[in-house]
C-alpha cells in the first residue's frame, strides 16, 4: 500500500513495534481474546451520547471498588461475635491505611447504590428500557435488589449497637411478610433470635453469595448492552435503532490494538 516516504518508520522502530506486538499476536492467534476485547471496547455509539450514559460504567466501577476493598477487608475481619467489633476497631485504628480502605468500602457502598439509582433514572428518562431492551431493565432491577441486599447484610458486620438493632428490625420486617415471612426471618437469623450464626451467615451471604450473583448478572447486563447497542436520547435528531453503517474497509490493517492475522510485517514494509 502507498505510504509517503515522510511517514515511513525506520527499520529499527518497525522491529521494536513488531516485538512489542508479538505477545498480543500470540494471544490473539490462540484465543481471539484481543479481538473480543476490541469488539467490546470500540463499539459504535450514537453521536449524541453524553456523560449521562457513563452512569452504568460508574456503577460498575463502584462495584469493582467494593469487590476489591471487600476482599482486602476480609484479610483482617473476624466474623465472630466476640471478635468482630474488635477486629473492625483494629482495622480502623491500628492497621496501616485500614481507615482508608474501610472508609472506601463503607462510603463506596452508598456511592454504589446512589449510582445505580441515577443510572436507572437515566435509562427511564431516556426511554432506554423499551423494546428490545426490556430484559436488560429486568436484569438491572435484579442488580439493584442484590446491591441493596449487600447493603443489608454488610450493615450487620461492624457488630456494634446500630448494626445489631438495625438488623433485628430489618429481619423482623422480613418476618412480617405473609405466609413465609416468619420462616424467612428465622432462616436469616439462624434460630429463634440473632446469635453467632447470624453473623457468619450474613458474612457468607455478603461476601460470597451476593457478589457472585451480582458479577454474573453484570456479565449478562453487559452482554445485552453490547448485543443491543447504546440508545440515542429521545431528542436525538438521528433515528434511534437504525441499522449500523457497514464497517469502512480497512486501510492499513493496523487500526485498534492489533493487525488481523495473516499479515506479517509492520506498516510500510
Amino acid at each position: 500500500m502507498a505510504v509517503t516516504p515522510a511517514r515511513r518508520k525506520s527499520p529499527r522502530r518497525a522491529q521494536i513495534e513488531a516485538a512489542a506486538l508479538y505477545p498480543l499476536d500470540w494471544l490473539e492467534e490462540r484465543s481471539g481474546l484481543v479481538g473480543a476485547i476490541k469488539y467490546f471496547l470500540f463499539r459504535r455509539v450514537p453521536r449524541d451520547t453524553s456523560w449521562a450514559q457513563t452512569l452504568g460504567s460508574a456503577s460498575l466501577t463502584a462495584f469493582l471498588v467494593q469487590a476489591i476493598t471487600g476482599v482486602i477487608l476480609a484479610f483482617y475481619y473476624k466474623p465472630d461475635p466476640d471478635k468482630a467489633y474488635e477486629s473492625i476497631q483494629i482495622i480502623t485504628n491500628d492497621l496501616t491505611l485500614g481507615w482508608l480502605v474501610r472508609g472506601m468500602h463503607r462510603w463506596g457502598a452508598s456511592v454504589f447504590i446512589i449510582l445505580m439509582f441515577l443510572h436507572m433514572a437515566r435509562v427511564f428518562l431516556y426511554g432506554a428500557y423499551k423494546y428490545p431492551r426490556e430484559l436488560n431493565w429486568i436484569v438491572g432491577v435484579l442488580l439493584l435488589t442484590l446491591g441493596m441486599a449487600e447493603g443489608f447484610t454488610g450493615y450487620l458486620l461492624p457488630w456494634d449497637q446500630t448494626a445489631y438493632w438495625a438488623t433485628v428490625v430489618g429481619i423482623n420486617i422480613n418476618g412480617t411478610a405473609p405466609f413465609l415471612g416468619p420462616f424467612i426471618a428465622q432462616f436469616l437469623q439462624g434460630g429463634a433470635a440473632i446469635g453467632s450464626d447470624t453473623l457468619s451467615k450474613f458474612y457468607s451471604i455478603h461476601m460470597l453469595v451476593l457478589p457472585g450473583a451480582i458479577a454474573g448478572l453484570i456479565g449478562l447486563h453487559l452482554y445485552l448492552v453490547i448485543r443491543l447497542g447504546v440508545t440515542s436520547p429521545p431528542w436525538s435528531p438521528t433515528e434511534a435503532g437504525r441499522e449500523r453503517a457497514p464497517e469502512p474497509p480497512s486501510t492499513n490493517g493496523r487500526e485498534g490494538l492489533i493487525r488481523p492475522s495473516g499479515r506479517g510485517g509492520s506498516n510500510g514494509e
Binding site: 461475635p81 438493632w165 429481619i171 405466609f179 415471612g181 434460630g191
Partner: protein, 314 residues
C-alpha cells in the same frame, strides 16, 4: 442440528417440574414441621417426577417410525408436518440414517437426566443443611431467677441474663417480672419479654429504676433490678405499652410477649416465651389467650393472623 430451531421440535410447556418443585418444598417444610407433611411431599415429588420423566423421555420411548421425519434430510426440506405428508413419496432411507437421530436424542436425554439426578443428590442435602439447622437444633431455655423474696408484690423487677454464656453478650435477654401475689393460694407472676412486638427492639421501662439495689442471683448470674415501672416504651419507633403489656400507642400489633414460669424449692424459674393477643383485666386476674411465640410484627389473633397460618418450629 439445523432442525432444532423449528417449532415442531420445541417441547410443549410442562407443569410437571412445578409440581415436582412443590413436592420437594413440601419435603423440606415437612422435615421441619411434621413427618406426615414430608410424606405427602415425597408422594407429590415422586408422582410429578415420574410424570416429568415420562414427558421428557416421550420422544425417546416412542417407536423409531414416529421420529423418522426428524432426520436431517427431511428437516432441511421444510419442517416436520410437511414431511409427514410427503413420507410415502420419500425414497427409502438406509437403516443407519434412521437410527442416527434417535440415538443422539437418547444420549443427550440420558446425559441431562443423569446430570439432573447427580445434581439433585448433591443439591438437596446441601440446601437442607443451608435451611434446616435454623429450625431444628433449637434449645429450650430454663433460667433461675432466684428466691421468691426478691420479688416484692405488685412491683416490676427487671431481670437480665445471658441465654448462652459461650456465645456471650449477643444472647442477652431482659424480662420484666412482677409478683401478683396469691391467686387461690397459688403464686402468680407476670413476666413480660422486653422485645418490642413491633420489630424487636428492646423496650425500656418508664418510671423509676433502683439501679443501686441491683443484685446478681443464680447459676446464670441473672441481674435483678427493682423498679417502679408505670409502662414500657420502645426507643426505635415509639411503641408504648402499659403494665400488662397492652399497646397504648405507636405501631405494635399485639401485646408484649410473655414467659411461662415455675417455682422449684422456693426459687422462680423462667420458662418458654409465648405470644398473647390482647390482655383483659390486670395482675393475677388477667385473662390471656396464649399463642406460640411469634415473630415481632405478626398478628396472632384476628383476621390478620390468617396471613401466618403455619407456626415456625424451633
Amino acid at each position: 442440528m439445523s432442525s432444532q430451531g423449528e417449532k415442531p421440535h420445541v417441547p410443549p410447556p410442562s407443569l410437571w417440574p412445578i409440581g415436582f418443585a412443590v413436592g420437594i418444598a413440601c419435603i423440606l417444610i415437612g422435615l421441619v414441621v411434621s413427618w406426615p407433611v414430608a410424606a405427602v411431599g415425597a408422594a407429590i415429588a415422586i408422582a410429578f417426577g415420574f410424570l416429568w420423566i415420562r414427558d421428557v423421555t416421550g420422544s425417546v420411548r416412542e417407536p423409531v417410525q414416529a421420529v423418522e421425519p426428524e432426520t436431517r434430510r427431511v428437516a432441511d426440506t421444510g419442517g416436520a408436518p410437511k414431511a409427514l405428508e410427503g413420507r410415502e413419496a420419500m425414497p427409502p432411507m438406509s437403516e443407519e440414517e434412521i437410527a442416527a437421530y434417535p440415538r443422539s436424542t437418547f444420549l443427550s436425554a440420558a446425559t441431562l437426566g443423569l446430570g439432573g439426578v447427580i445434581g439433585g443428590i448433591i443439591t438437596v442435602p446441601v440446601l437442607g443443611f443451608a435451611v434446616l439447622p435454623s429450625f431444628t437444633n433449637q434449645k429450650d431455655q430454663s433460667v433461675e431467677l432466684g428466691p421468691l423474696e426478691n420479688f416484692a408484690e405488685g412491683q416490676f423487677v427487671i431481670a437480665t441474663y445471658l441465654e448462652d454464656f459461650e456465645i456471650g453478650e449477643v444472647t442477652r435477654r431482659t424480662v420484666f417480672v412482677r409478683n401478683n401475689g396469691l391467686l387461690e393460694d397459688q403464686p402468680s407472676f407476670t413476666i413480660l419479654f422486653s422485645r418490642c412486638v413491633h420489630l424487636g427492639c428492646p423496650v425500656q421501662p418508664n418510671g423509676l429504676v433502683y439501679d443501686e439495689q441491683k443484685k446478681t442471683v443464680g447459676e446464670k448470674r441473672v441481674d435483678l433490678t427493682p423498679s417502679l415501672v408505670t409502662g414500657f416504651g420502645c426507643p426505635c419507633h415509639g411503641g408504648q405499652y402499659d403494665t400488662e403489656g397492652n399497646r397504648t400507642a405507636g405501631p405494635p400489633v399485639r401485646a408484649l410477649d410473655r414467659a411461662e414460669f415455675s417455682i422449684r424449692d422456693g426459687k422462680l424459674w423462667l420458662g418458654q416465651f409465648y405470644s398473647v393477643g390482647n390482655v383483659e383485666s390486670t395482675g393475677a386476674r388477667a385473662r390471656i389467650k396464649k399463642y406460640d411465640h411469634a415473630t415481632p410484627g405478626v398478628h396472632v389473633d384476628g383476621p390478620e393472623a390468617w396471613l401466618y397460618p403455619v407456626e415456625v418450629p424451633g
